[in-house]
């Protein structure tokens, strides 16, 4: 048992626990917070895998921006637990059953079919953040320039859309 493996196992446990916690929590705010924790764990995983930039952007964007947005909306809409109804009672057991099967299938597929060679990079190699970041920048702005620009437009569109969706209703109400 190396340090990496122990670390990995602990973090994996935390990730799964927080995910399940998010799933089962009745309070929406608790679910959001669980998810934040999950994201953070995944960010650490990224670090372990030698992708510091991704880790940082994960924390910044996902945990920092997206979850905050979620929390804003939860606050807007109320975090009350929904009243219990019994619509589609058969759905939950079936969903869980199928999900388990999916997990098994997915694992099997990915493990047997996708055979990556070699181990992961040593952390010492990639913990040099400047090198990873520089490499990433070079690749991003040379080979992947077009997707980069398109993504920026995408973000713009999303922004405009989000704003427009709310503004339109106000105009209708006034007229």
């Amino acid at each position: 048992m190396t340090l990496d493996l122990a670390l990995f196992l602990v973090l994996a446990l935390v990730a799964v626990a927080t995910a399940i916690g998010m799933l089962l929590s009745q309070n929406a705010v608790y679910s959001a917070l669980f998810l934040v924790l999950n994201f953070t764990t995944v960010a650490i995983f990224y670090l372990l895998l030698g992708a510091p930039f991704i880790a940082m952007s994960q924390i910044t964007v996902y945990a920092g921006a997206i979850m905050v947005l979620f929390l804003f909306v939860i606050m807007l809409l109320g975090a009350d637990a929904l009243p219990k109804t019994q619509v589609l009672p058969w759905q939950r057991p079936l969903a869980i059953f199928l999900a388990v099967i999916l997990a098994a299938e997915g694992t099997y597929l990915l493990v047997t079919k996708a055979r990556p060679t070699g181990n992961i990079l040593q952390p010492e190699v990639t913990v040099n953040t400047m090198d990873n970041l520089r490499e990433m920048g070079i690749v991003l702005f040379n080979q992947y320039l077009l997707p980069f620009e398109v993504t920026s437009i995408l973000l713009l569109v999303a922004m405009v859309g989000a704003i427009t969706l709310n503004r339109r209703e106000k105009r209708e109400r006034k007229s």
């Binding site: 589609l88 969903a95 199928l98 999900a99 999916l102 299938e105 597929l109």
Partner: protein
Amino acid sequence: MHLSETVNIGFFFLAPWLVFFPVIGLLINMIFGHRFSETVIGIVASLASGAAFVVSVLLAWSVAAGGGEAMSVPFAQWIHIGALNLDWTFRVDSLSATMMLVVSGVGTLIHIYAIGYMHEDVRFKNDVGRFQRFFIFLNLFIAAMMILVSGDSYMMLFVGWEGVGLCSFLLIGFWYEMDTLGRSSWANSNAAKKAFIVNRVGDFGFLIAGFIMFYAFGSFQFDEVFKQVHNIAPATIVAITLFMLVGVAGKSAQLPLYVWLPDAMAGPTPVSALIHAATMVTAGVYLVTRSAPLYSAVPQAQNIVAMVGAVTALFAATIAAGQYDIKKVLAYSTISQLGFMVAAVGMGAYVAGMFHLITHAFFKALLFLSAGSVILGMERGHHHLAHAHGHDDHKTKQKFKKGKHAESKEEHHEEEHGEVFDPGDMRNMGGLRKTMPVTFWLYMIGTLALAGIFPFAGFWSKDEILLDAAKAYPVAYYLLAVAAFFTAFYMGRQIWMVFFGEARHAAAAHAEESPRVMTVPLMVLAALSVLGGALNLPGVHTLTNWLEHTVTLVEHEGQVASWLDVSWGGLNPYVALLSTVLALLAIYFSWLIYGRNPLKAGQIDPLKKPLGAIFTGMENKWYVDEIYQAIILTPYTKISYFLADVIDWKFWHDFVHETVIAGTYNWISNIALNDYADQKGIDAFANWLGTATQSFSATLRKVQNGFVRSYALSVLLGVVFIIGYLILK
């Protein structure tokens, strides 16, 4: 073209015009007749018939110029099926030329006469528009008769045979909605039907003969048949000739198929003269003469023919002596004279028969037409009276009639122009000698010719027949001699009743003579009746020589009595003397009974008391019609009704058609197919399809429950399955 060349070639090519001229005449009258005046219609028709006569003359001359040789003039192909080859070919030889001349010659004279007769007749019967139709039919008759006499095969003859039968029907029933007295009745159409149907019986016999002939000889053509006569078994020929005799009996009014001819007097008098005296009824005699080779080969058949003719002659003569209608007397006289002709040709005396045919045509036509003149004279008188005296005349009439029969009562109550007054009843006539002199003399000439008084035409022809009968067939001779006696008797009776004595009816007293258009043709006929004997005078024998080119005469061999053997150029003085004495005796008797004490109005026939039941039999035609009615017609009608009502209507229609067929069909279509197959079967299936689809879709619709979660679940389900499949593959 030089005349000599014409003589060599001859006018044979004109043969088809024998038929064409009358057809053209009838077509012109049919298409344009309604625009013509009566005179023009009559002239067109008479010219057509006259043109046919001119053609006949030319053809006869061509035959004579050619030495009597027969010529065939092919005209058109008709039937060519298998072994049967029938063409329309004209045969011009001495026999057919003779017939053509008689038919067209007498026919033309009658056409001219009819112009005047029909002019008055349509006016007495109040239908002026029917004038045109009469001449169309008359021309049609001439055309059909020409086809008959000019055909060169038995079938072509039959075509003409049927054609004249049709024209006879059309013309007898000319006034189809009336009876002879002008009352609305079925009588005339029944008479026409009777003629046609009885003729049909005869035609049936002719056809059977034709079938046997084709079977035995393989052909209908005269030449073909006559060539092979010796090769065929005599029994077959007997069969052929006897069946042909049935046809002759029908067409030439012999026993037992003569019953139509007296009824045929319902037609206008020119019809009676032309068709039922001179031409159509002689077709049978022509047929036998034409078939001379056939008959000469089978003496048994000849015997039968001769006997039929002789018996008919006597039978009809007895009936004629008891008739009161002027035309009926002449009708039975015709039957009797036809009996003479048929007996003659049956005995093998073809020339004698044809000679009598020709002379009979002359004087019988003359007699009929004169009778027509008499009838019209009576009508004119009646008309004159009705107009002049208005309603007073019924009183005048009462003076003359003693109301002895039902007719007079009707005449009392229904006094209209000639409605129920019978202009043909001899009992109404009398003393017409004074009011209609021309007609009287013409009638006298005809009577003397018919009675066989020297030197009129009838004497020569009848004498030849009697001579041949005396030589070969003594039984026939006795029958014919007695018939000749009766002939003279009833003709004398007629003369005394009609022309002598006092008028028994006011109409007779006021009778008027006929116009020249009617009397002039009669004069021509009278001249022919007087001079007609010249055709075959003993010693000269023009007709014999003429006909011998076509008809081989068989000289009767065997022992004859010495007194019969005396021959003054063909004439035996004893026979001639005997027949003349008989005739004069008969006329004397008739004078004793009818002439010496002329009948008064309402007086019954003087012969009635002495002869009693015999005279009643003669009066009533020996009840032959009644016998036919009882034996044949009534059962036949009963059978027809049975077949029609029970078998056809009740069984076939009601049961088989309605119940069985229609019922089954209805059951099949309504119940089996409609209810079960269609509604319960196909409809049910189709509806089931619809409902099944509906319920299936209703079930499927539950998938769309609107819940996103379940949609997502189904996506997951799909993913799981696909991945599973990929793994397992």
